[in-house]
């Protein structure tokens, strides 16, 4: 048989979950990570990252809106997907995820953005004409109150939402890890560490994304870089990366040490089929090199210009590396037979419903949405919260 080595069960020839299913944890991971960065300022009062607060929220929203798309494109019957809300099987991790997603989208992200932007939305409503006026009117729910008292209410509610939002973000992405980690039939996936590994790699990817976006947009707008902000983000990225890498190492060492039945199949697979994406891309380029770059900046004095180059390089490598991690989990877990006697290959096509082309388009779409959001809800100079507190 084409691309088969050893013995696989007859039903295992083709992979069940394609690159689209790789994208889904990647996208929700970026959402969770971006939100955690935003919460650094709002809840933990890390003032240095304030300039990225609104951008992080808009990024999270843009990616969260796109997140269900790869899933719908993958389903055999996407028109039945609403059944997950009508008859959710509570024993199934996947069923409850629909509610977690909805909760996070509506009760956390949308509300937080609304309460933070409300003053600007009302001002825009008052100042605009025509269809823009109608748009902003609707966005404010036709409430005109931006007195200091109302803004104080907004600030307090926003803070509560962010506090609730942090465990919600953990749930949003940790849950995806649980969907994999709870499958006892698959030893590559089945580990209690999976939700935690997913979560920390999500935080790393989200922080890297916002950092790279912020720097890119600052360059595009030809403004001076706020180095204090970027240095702080890079520091948090570095520490989160250390934790993430430690967790992944722990998982690997544990598997190697216990050396149970599945290890032989997994070890062989890593050494052959998965070698490039796991060892080269994920571990070397995507983890060790960015950690080394960020550590270098922590330890040695480097000029601002060099720091910017290092941060962007580290950020982009991180984003590639975390994508490779998702790939290695999802695709890697399907390359070996459950008989542990053989392997198959992933034949990714290009222009089919689950091929590479739709995957690329799905990944580009959030940036398009983000561009629109930045026009409608500019994240620059926004609400000065000290006004409300004053």
């Amino acid at each position: 048989m084409q691309g088969v080595e050893g013995f696989i069960y007859p039903n295992e020839l083709e992979l069940q979950w394609s690159v689209l299913i790789v994208l889904y944890p990647y996208i929700t991971g970026l959402v969770a990570g971006a939100f955690i960065l935003a919460s650094l300022e709002r809840v933990f009062n890390v003032a240095a990252v304030r300039p990225t607060y609104r951008l992080a929220l808009l990024t999270a929203l843009a990616f969260l809106l796109v997140a269900p798309l790869p899933l719908q494109m993958h389903l055999g019957h996407p028109e039945r997907s609403f059944n997950m809300y009508l008859t959710p099987h509570t024993e199934s991790a996947m069923a409850m995820f629909g509610f977690v997603y909805l909760w996070y989208l509506m009760a956390v992200l949308v509300l937080e953005i609304w309460f933070d932007y409300r003053r600007d939305l009302v001002l825009a409503w008052r100042a605009s004409r025509g269809w823009k006026r109608r748009l902003y009117g609707a966005l404010t729910l036709w409430s005109d109150d931006i007195s200091p008292g109302a803004l104080a209410v907004d600030d307090r509610i926003g803070r509560i939402i962010t506090i609730v939002g942090i465990p919600s973000a953990f749930l949003l992405h940790g849950y995806v890890g649980f969907i994999f980690g709870s499958v006892k039939a698959n030893p590559w996936w089945s580990t209690p560490l999976m939700p935690i590994v997913f979560l920390f790699s999500a935080i790393v990817s989200g922080i890297a994304l916002v950092m790279v976006l912020y720097m890119t947009l600052t360059w595009i707008r030809r403004l001076p870089m706020d180095m204090r902000c970027v240095d702080t983000i890079a520091t948090y990225l570095f520490y989160m990366f250390i934790i993430d890498f430690s967790l992944e190492l722990l998982d690997l060492i544990h598997r190697l040490y216990e050396a149970d039945e599945s290890l032989r199949a997994l070890d062989f697979m890593v050494k052959t089929r998965l070698f490039t994406s796991q060892i080269v891309v994920q571990i070397l380029l995507g983890t060790l090199v960015p950690i080394a770059l960020l550590a270098f900046v922590q330890l040695k004095r480097v000029s601002a210009a060099w720091r910017q180059s290092i941060y962007v390089t580290a950020g982009l490598l991180t984003l590639i590396g975390i994508f490779a991690m998702r790939w290695n989990v999802v695709i890697g877990g399907q390359l070996f037979s459950k008989s542990f006697l053989g392997y198959t290959t992933y034949k990714m096509e290009f222009a089919t419903r689950e091929g590479l082309l739709p995957a690329i388009l799905v990944m580009l779409l959030p940036f398009v949405i983000l561009a629109v959001l930045i026009r409608v809800l500019p994240p620059w100079g926004g609400q000065d919260r000290t006004l409300a507190e004053g």
């Binding site: 609403f82 809300y85 009508l86 008859t87 099987h89 024993e91 509506m106 009760a107 509300l111 609304w114 409300r118 404010t140 729910l141 036709w142 409430s143 005109d144 109150d145 007195s147 008292g149 109302a150 104080a152 209410v153 509610i157």
Partner: protein, 151 residues
Amino acid sequence: MSGRFGHYGHVWRVAGLFVGGFAVFLLLRVALIPADFGAYGFYRAGALDDVRAQPAAYVGQDTCIGCHADIDELRQEARHAKVACEACHGPAARHIDDVSIAPVIADARPLCLRCHAAGTGKPDFVPAVAADDHAGDLSCVECHNPHRPRY
């Protein structure tokens, strides 16, 4: 401008939006969940009927013997007594519905060899032959009656 709700007017509006959405969801539940869902467990009970409704293609050898008792008597004399009619002749449901549609009699050589080819690792209780050595190019039924194979 503080209205009836003080400075919480906008909060009540957005809360109302959420409550409205939830109410719509509850209505959708009533409308869209099948009535027999959950009758026996977490599934649509009608699915059991759907599966049961599939037509059968194999009828079972008792039905064959009903008309072909003479073949069955022959079969009882040899070791193929344990082999059901449809094991070699394929599904007979269409023949039962319309006896003019005969079950397909498969080409003997590949059919027989699936059970009787030597060198494939079969257990000893199955008589096995290396077909080319045993019969050259001949079909198995040139020498063996499939209903009473040992002569």
